[in-house]
Amino acid sequence: MTVAPISDTRTPGPSAAREPHIVRVAQHTVEIVSDSGEGAQKCGQIFGRVSAMMGNGTWTVEIIPAEIQPPPRTPPSASGNRVRLGTRRVTNWGDEADLVVAFNEQVLLHRHRLGALREGCTILIENWWERHEDEAIRAAWAEAMQELDGHQYRFIKVPMEEQCLTVVDTPRRGKNMFVLGMLAWIYNRDRDKTRELIAHEFRKKAREILDANVALLDLGWQWAAEHLDFRVEVPIEAPTEPQVVMNGNQALAIGAIAAGMDLCSMYPITPATSASHYLSEIFEKYGGVVHQAEDEIAAIGVAVGASYAGKVAFTITSGPGLALKTEFIGLAVMTEVPLVIVDVQRGGPSTGLPTKVEQSDLLAVLFGQPGDAPKVVLAPATMEECFHVMTTARRLAEAFRTPVVVLSDANLATGVQPFPRPTVTSDAMAGALDLGPLGEGFRAYEWDAQTGLSRRSIPGQPGGEHTATGLSHDEHSRVGYSPDVHERGCAMRSRKFAVLQQSLRPPAVCGPEAGDLLVVGWGSTLGAIEEAAERARDEGLSVSTLHLRFLSPLEPGLREIFARFRTVMTIEINYSDDPQDPYITDENRRRGQLAWLLRAQTLVDVDCWTRVPGEPLRPGQLLEVMRRVARKGGVS
């Protein structure tokens, strides 16, 4: 791509006579950023979706401000999407952007300051502000341009406001479609499909609104065709099997229905809530109910009640809500009530970073309850896994009479990626409620002495009457405080997870089975870690990866796998002390949460590299870490 110096900020004149230069690349990352409320997200979503429909690999991630309507034309107001396109499957949001469309210079500054733009990046920017009647705005523009000076960005000024005014009176509500039209021309997107998606988006609005948006799309296309000197081609190798495209929260929601869930009991919290919004829209059609409780505690309490009564219930929350649910999770462990708890992790502690990604709830989930409270913890790594994990979680919860925590995160929740269309059959659903009588002598906890497993009775079943209790209890659910009752109860509630662990397969190693460096990850970092490792191997480095889906119980065979590598380290989005930091020694260093767990469980000296930037990790950044560690043999 041609790179013009920053001084070249002319608005291009018509260039229809010239054939545009075609930039042919295997992958390309585009960002669309506007003030919150200007619709860059809608534009990005449709662009990502139409690209996926055409067969490109895509990964779409939201750029979200913390407020609904932060002051406009300020860096924190930046709202939009990053869409990474690829010829092949795209597994993460990539490194820096190759092309940016900015609705004003302030939101552009925000992305620049975060290091989101590649040197050489093409920037299409609304030029209205440069000549704005308000002197302060003109000054702000000039100041921003000064800050951006010295970087190899190619600026193309676009008269978005001026163009849109030819179609609508309030361009603030239409620029996004003009931009979509420009992008559609640049990347040669299918115009009919794009129009169809717009029609779907505005299906509930008046016809005139749809027509205006389509007109803006066409205008954007036409302007780009007449004025731009380049187009980008990301060749398509369309997958052969049918695909669906959605974000992780949508996948969790449909996955819950496919798993046969009856009840989602929740309290609003970011970034979990969009799953409940979606379920609120559709769940009743399937015989399910979303109950918005008065608080996080009641939300899980209602789910526990429904599950105790034999229905399949789940609750969905994020860090602060998880903290409030702690006591009820312990009760579900103690009473062995099956329950699925979804935690869409965000930055913490406390209110932390409500809209941003982190993987900091692992240890809280594992050890948050007072007393011994073992449970199953699963971490889906992709949108596709978000869909399937709900069936797995439901089955494990019932078979093992246990709470199952599903750890998703903000990156999965808002990221959009195509994946093979799941086949949904009635077999995946929970069976009908069996209210058949139980035989003489039924005990509420008929713990199998070997496995700790027991069948449960549900209200309505004659012969199964008992009082479930959070107090220490024997097989009949009779309260008992004697040492043997409590020892036995704890052992039985723990044993079943050893049984589960032994039924799991050792995790697959991606890359060589032995070598210099093994990187272990969990959750949404899968794509970035594997891409970085692949690039490291291309450079001749010996780097392998392993990604855990089961965090409790841990998948088997880890110690043997770790023994085959010179260095084992985790990469995670949570806090750990940097070995170089003041006062930090090998003895007092606080490590990443998975590293902590693996060290305790395997006695292997597992190292870690973790960050808490409030955004997904970038593969290029991980590649640097891998280079350093694979060569030197340690993070420090």
Partner: protein, 317 residues
């Protein structure tokens, strides 16, 4: 008939079998001698027998505290959960299993203190459950701490010089919540009135809030002692649509005609004065019940699978 979308194998209608008092009787209750909980337990067993409720289709949910041991002493299904959290669990049971008879049993600390948020919202959801609040004005199980309903001046381990604040008024509080549909008060020294109150509560369709005034023989044994010695301290709220307990009406000289559909009058009567009022303060049979409001037609797994596949079409590329 509520269609559950599930097999009801073996679950014969409640009336097909004959249930006797002992069929509901669990192990010997371990409350102190003289505790009002015994009287309530007996009244509840009598209610279950009189209404012939199948033990397997009856669920008692409780919180934590002396009173919350209640389900353990019955031979129905029970769920003895967390301090303050009986109502969310009971709501969850009733929400998705409206075929079950659901009771929630709480103490004053449970309901009015740690679980106060759930109390307010359960009144508003109005699920068809009987909520019994055993109010002895003190924390007993944790050994004599002030509760929200402790009378001002009551000495306890946490207020050794006497409670600083006026007691909370659970009847007025419940009456003040949107969708309140049944609010009654009775006392542990008038068993016939307890029975009549529980019967009315059970037959009410909606959230039936019953406060039972009690003494704790250990820590508040003088609470309501004056009412016991002198029945003229009590005033019975009576109405053809109210709660009738003839023996108690003969014993208690003060009767007041109160129409339980009159919310404003109920509020006035709930204000504290020298009289202890027992009876039905308020009843409104027209408030929608939550499990009905949220009822959805059940689906078979096959129907669901078909619909999910249709939903996925919207995401198909």
């Amino acid at each position: 008939m509520i269609d559950l979308g599930c097999s009801l194998l073996g679950s014969a209608a409640d009336t097909e079998r004959g249930w006797e008092f002992q069929d509901y009787q669990g192990p010997v209750a371990r409350w102190c001698a003289g505790c009002g909980d015994h009287a309530v337990l007996a009244a509840v067993q009598r209610l279950l027998e009189a209404e012939q409720l199948a033990p397997e289709r009856t669920v008692f949910v409780s919180g934590i505290g002396c009173s919350s041991r209640f389900p353990h002493y019955l031979k129905t299904y029970g769920f003895h959960g967390l301090h303050g959290r009986a109502l969310p669990v009971a709501t969850g049971v009733k929400l998705r299993r409206p075929d079950l008879h659901v009771f929630a049993v709480m103490g004053d600390g449970d309901c009015c203190s740690i679980g106060a948020g759930h109390w307010v919202h359960a009144v508003r959801y109005n699920p068809d459950i009987v909520a019994i609040m055993l109010d002895n004005g003190v924390y007993g199980l944790t050994k004599n701490q002030t509760s929200p309903t402790s009378p001002k001046g009551l000495k306890s381990n946490t207020a050794p010089r006497g409670a600083w604040l006026d007691a909370m008024n659970p009847i007025a509080t419940t009456l003040g919540v949107a969708n309140a549909s049944f609010v009654a008060q009775t006392g542990d020294w008038v068993p016939e009135h307890i029975a009549a109150t529980l019967r009315a509560a059970f037959h009410h369709r909606g959230f039936a809030f019953v406060r039972i005034l009690q003494r704790c023989p250990q820590y508040t044994d003088q609470l309501f002692a004056s009412a016991l010695r002198d029945p003229s301290r009590v005033e019975l709220l009576l109405h053809p649509d109210g709660i009738r307990a003839p023996a108690v009406e003969r014993m208690v000289p003060n009767h007041r005609e109160h129409d339980p559909s009159d919310l404003v009058a109920a509020f006035r009567l709930a204000q504290p004065d020298e009289r202890i009022r027992l009876g039905l303060f308020y009843r409104n049979e027209h408030v929608p019940v939550y499990e009905q409001v949220r009822a959805v037609p059940p689906h078979t797994a096959e129907q669901r699978a078909r619909l999910v596949n249709e939903e996925l079409d919207a995401y198909a590329l």
